[in-house]
Every structure is written in structure tokens, then in C-alpha cells.
Amino acid sequence: MSAARLVERLIQLPLVLFGVSVVVFLMMTLTPGDPVEIMLADQRATEEQAQALRRDLGLDRPLPERYLIFVGNALTGDFGVSFFHRRPVFDVISERLPATIELTLVALLIAVAVAVPLGVAAAVKRDSWLDRALTAAALFGVSLPGFWFGILLILLFAVQLGWFPVGGRIPFDAEVPWVSGFLLVDTLLAGRPDAFLRALSHLALPAITLGLPAAALLARVIRSSMSEVLAADYVLFAEAKGLPRRRVLFLHALKNALIPAVTVLAIEAGSLLGGSMIVETVFGWPGLGRVVVEGIFARNYPLVQAAVLLYAVIYVTLNFGADLLYAALNPKVRL
């Protein structure tokens, strides 16, 4: 990646965010349903009270003005107050975000740990039963709806076998002081290996639900790039030099085969964040995804707007990170 490309990416970020902010603002306000009506649904409020609340929330002003207020505040880091929680949106999000990031990271880890060995093995033993099985499994994995797969896992491993909890993130008796927000880290910092294991067992099923379909796609990408690389002259030359097989496969071949996989992985990470909305809902995982889903139903404009903006920032940053990693892996690309 050239320096020009880097600058281009940096310019891109605010433009993307501007676009996203407009779209999410319009979508939220134009979808039918009134947050005030939803909030007051079972409270027999008078029309005056409803108006007062509407004024209080700033919903009585014209649309462009509301957008400008929203953007102006957002630029100063103020995303408003969550209608439902009656607390700053920023606080609500920062409480929920670590749970989602932890889930996504573990899912990515599962995806990579499963996909790299399988993709390499399938490429080395092309047209073997392993290769065919992987192709079938990948197709299955890619077309699997996350909520269905998640429910299936719950039914089998949580309800039938009882190996894992049905949902949630950690039981009350295993709660530890909040340090990083990542339970796998905080339980260890608190010196509670028992709590660590319980957090891990809560994490297992949702992370597998997210990670396995991602692994399927990634394994396909690695298989095809690895097959291509294995046919390259430099692999033949490395073998002709008498290098050990392991070095030929994992240094000469895999290093080059992973370059396209990195880009796919970054896009995967982005879609895992999106996929986590469904998985978090199925598993009762207290992350950002679930709070956004609830926010959409409650027409909780400030919360959803801020969260979607955050998703966009993460997505663009991930792609930027993929470009940097691509440059690090590929010496022909220099910053």
C-alpha cells in the first residue's frame, strides 16, 4: 500500500461516517413507530404529558435541526441520552461493548484455529475425502442461519447434555470487579480461575455459533489460495533445495497463501459484529448487539444511532487494519 492509499483511507473514514450518520438518522426517524408512544404505552399518559416528554427528548423540532444537533453533539463525544435507560448513550455502549468484543474475538480465534489447518490440509490433499468433506461442510456452514445453528447447539449441548449453560454471560456468584470488561481477563486478574472457567463455558456456545460459519468461509479461501501457491515455482524450488516438508508448507507456502486470507478475515470480523446481534439475542448475551436490537424495537433513536456509527467506525478501521497487515505480510507492498 502506498502512502497515497493510506491518506485516501484516512480521508475515507469521515466521509463514510457522514454517510452512515445520515442513513441511520433517516432510517430511524422514518420508520413507523413513535418512541414516546412506546415509552408511555402502559402508563395512561395525557396528551400534554406526551407532548412534554416529546419536547424533553427534543423530538418536537424539525428533522434537519435534530440531525444537526445529533451530529454536533456526536462530534464532541456526546451521543445524547438513551430514551429507555435515561442514561448517557456513551455509558450504556461502553458497558456493553466489551462483551461483544470478547465474543467476537473468541469467535475469530475459533474461526482461524479451525480454518487454517483444515484449509491447508484440503489444499495439500486435494480431491481427497477430507477435501470433499470440507467443501460440503463449508457450503453448509456458509448457508447456515446463525439463529438456527445457535438454537440447535443450545438444544443439544445445553438442554440435552447439560454441558454448557443455556445463556447469559456469567452467573451472579462468579461476578468479579470490572477492570477491562473482558470477563476472561477480569476473572484472572481477580484471581478466580473458577470464575474464568464459568465465563468460558458461557462463552463457548455463542462463540462457536459465530465462529464456525466464519471458519467455513475462511477455510475455503485458504484452501484455494494455498492450492494456488502450492503450484507455484517457488514451492517446487524450495522442495528442490531439500528443505523439510514442514518448512516448505508452513513458511514458503502458507506465508503467501495467508495474504488474501487476511483481507477476508477483516471483512469476516466486521460481519461477525453484525451477526452478533442475532447470536446475542439467542444466547441472552449482554452485549452491544442485543442492546441495539432492543433499541430498534423501542425506537431508542440516540442509542441505535450511536451504536450504528460505532459499527461503521469499527468496520472501516478493520479494513484499514487489514490493509496494514497486508503490507506487513507482503514485502512488495511498502508504506
Binding site: 515455482d233 517457488y234 517446487l236 531439500g242 528443505l243 518448512r247
Partner: protein
């Protein structure tokens, strides 16, 4: 001739195709002595590269060496366990490829790619110092500083020389050079060929020079092997073969090339096309393009002694002129 370093008999390498097995090398016999340079000529698809990749044990599945003997220093490489053959590759049998840009790994430095070869074969001494010496020997200036460069940072000629330095790093006994100088300009080509000559004389390195370039063969190789459609058409001392071909294909090859000493001589391309290797019979494979072909050519034609250390796969070898 003393006992050859490499002796190949009846080599048959096949690749499965939809129309049945294709023998890209079929009954190939030849010898190379230590210190000798054997030129291997023939058009694309004649089986030159396949023959020598078979020797190195580098035929990729689903292709495989189906029959034959590959004796190297008296041991049959085909019967050797894979790890032993791997240890021999690079150390005893080395390969230099046509295109260094694709033969060198784009994401590893030149230094890494030399040092790993030295380490894989347990070459004593400091590998980095040895790498610098090797690069210096192929004429790469300021070699110590360039170890950290990636292949794309080298010029084309330097890349080719660096690759040859890697091939020669563990001081092999036999170098299979597959069109190693085609991509080089004249001065660098001469430099590389001179280096190979030097190693042949000093170390007794044997070189199998696979090439389209008959001039290189005429200049550098004592003996030449002409291949056609997966078989050896003829072998013999280079000067003899060029002056008096003993196979109609060799003669056709000579006549199709321009000659500096006879600039006005018309060029005669060989009529017809190379036969489909998946559909050849047991007879002479050149007969449908050959002016000397007779009915007997449809019967199997063995490689036979035609005198003066020469072998030909033609029943009318003596009539070729």
C-alpha cells in the same frame, strides 16, 4: 567413460488425463558423468523437464514415475525412502529454474533463502558469511548488504544469479539447469556459464543443461541428448551430432535454425505436428513427419548404438545426412 554419476534406464513418467494416461517421458535412457555437461534439447513438451524432475523426485501428483531405474552414485533414487531423497535434494542433486522471479519466494529475503538451504543440509561454518561468499561468487556486488533484500528488489539478472547461487549453495554433484540463462542478457549469460564451467573443472560438478538454445549446447556441452515426444531421439558428442545428425528429427532441428556461417541458407521448418502423447502407438513417434519413414517404422524402435559413442532411435540412422 568411467562409471557415470547418474544413470537413467527405461524412465517412464505418466500423468493421468481424461483421455487416459499420458507418458510425458517414455523409456528414457541416459548417463551423465561427474564433471560433464550434457545438453538436453527438444521442443516444449518433448519431456526434457519431466525427465529431470523425475530424477529429482519432484513430479507432482497425480503424475508419477511409473517405471525405470534412476541410479545416482550407484543407488536407485526411486527405491529410496522419501526423507533420504529429500536430504539428497539440494545437497547432491540441485535444480536451477528458468524464471528466477517465480522460483524465488517473494515474501522471504534472499539471505533467508540461501541460509535455509545451508542449514537444511548442515553445511558447517557461519551460514551468513557463506551466503555472502556465494552471492559474491555469482557476481552480486555488495552482497553482505543485499542479504536483507527481497527478490523484487533485485534486477532480473541479479535475481537469476542469486537463484543459481542458492542452487549451488550446498555444493551439489549434479545441477539440473532448466533454461537457466534464457532470460539473461549476453554478458551476464556468459558470466553464469563461465561460473558453471569453473565448478565443473574444480569440483567435478555435472550439469544437465536443458535448453532451446543450440548455441549454448554447441559451446558448453561435451554431449547432447535430443528429445522428441517423451523419448530420446539421439545422443552423442555435441560436435558429432551437430555435424552429422543420426536422427531425422535432429537434422530437422538443425535445418530449422538460422546459421551465422550460411546467412543465405533457407530455413526449413519441420512439417507436421508433435503427436498427441495420449494417443501414440509403439512405433517411431516421428514417422508421420519424417521424409525417410518406411513401413517398418511402425514397429517399436529401440535406442541403438550407431558408433562413435552415439545412440539413435532411428532404423535408418545411417542414411540420415
Amino acid at each position: 567413460m568411467s562409471a557415470p554419476l547418474l544413470s537413467v534406464r527405461g524412465l517412464r513418467t505418466v500423468f493421468p488425463t481424461r483421455r487416459g494416461p499420458l507418458a510425458a517421458a517414455d523409456g528414457v535412457d541416459f548417463d551423465i558423468a561427474a564433471g560433464e555437461a550434457l545438453g538436453v534439447v527438444g521442443e516444449s513438451g518433448s519431456g526434457k523437464s519431466v525427465t529431470f524432475l523425475s530424477v529429482l523426485g519432484l513430479i507432482r501428483p497425480p503424475g508419477r514415475v511409473e517405471a525405470g531405474e534412476i541410479l545416482f552414485g550407484g543407488r536407485d533414487l526411486r527405491r529410496m525412502p522419501a526423507p533420504e531423497l529429500r536430504a539428497l535434494r539440494g545437497r547432491m542433486l540441485a535444480l536451477a529454474m528458468q524464471d528466477a522471479l517465480s522460483a524465488l519466494n517473494p515474501s522471504l529475503t534472499i539471505g533467508t533463502q540461501i541460509v535455509e538451504t545451508l542449514r537444511a543440509h548442515g553445511i558447517p561454518g557461519d551460514p551468513r558469511a557463506e551466503a555472502v561468499r556465494l552471492l559474491g561468487r555469482v557476481g552480486i556486488p555488495d552482497a553482505a548488504r543485499r542479504l536483507g533484500d527481497y527478490p523484487h528488489q533485485f534486477s532480473g539478472g541479479m535475481r537469476q544469479r542469486a537463484m543459481i547461487a542458492i542452487s549451488l549453495a550446498a555444493r551439489p554433484r549434479l545441477l539440473v539447469a532448466d533454461e537457466p540463462t534464457t532470460a539473461l542478457d549476453v554478458t551476464i549469460r556468459a558470466q553464469v556459464l563461465y561460473l558453471l564451467d569453473e565448478l565443473r573443472v574444480e569440483d567435478g560438478l555435472a550439469v544437465a543443461m536443458i535448453t532451446h538454445d543450440l548455441a549454448v549446447v554447441a559451446e558448453r556441452c561435451e554431449r547432447v541428448m535430443v528429445m522428441y515426444a517423451g523419448q530420446v531421439a539421439e545422443t552423442g558428442p555435441t560436435a558429432e551430432v551437430i555435424a552429422r545428425p543420426r536422427h531425422p528429427y535432429t537434422r530437422g532441428l538443425m535445418e530449422s535454425l538460422p546459421r551465422l556461417d550460411q546467412p543465405d541458407r533457407p530455413l526449413h521448418p519441420i512439417p507436421g505436428q508433435v503427436p498427441d502423447l495420449a494417443a501414440v502407438d509403439a512405433g517411431c513417434r516421428f514417422r508421420n513427419r519424417c521424409a525417410l519413414a518406411v513401413a517398418a517404422c511402425a514397429a517399436p524402435v529401440p535406442l541403438r548404438d550407431v558408433g562413435a559413442e552415439r545412440l539413435s532411435r532411428c532404423i535408418r540412422a545411417e542414411e540420415v545426412s
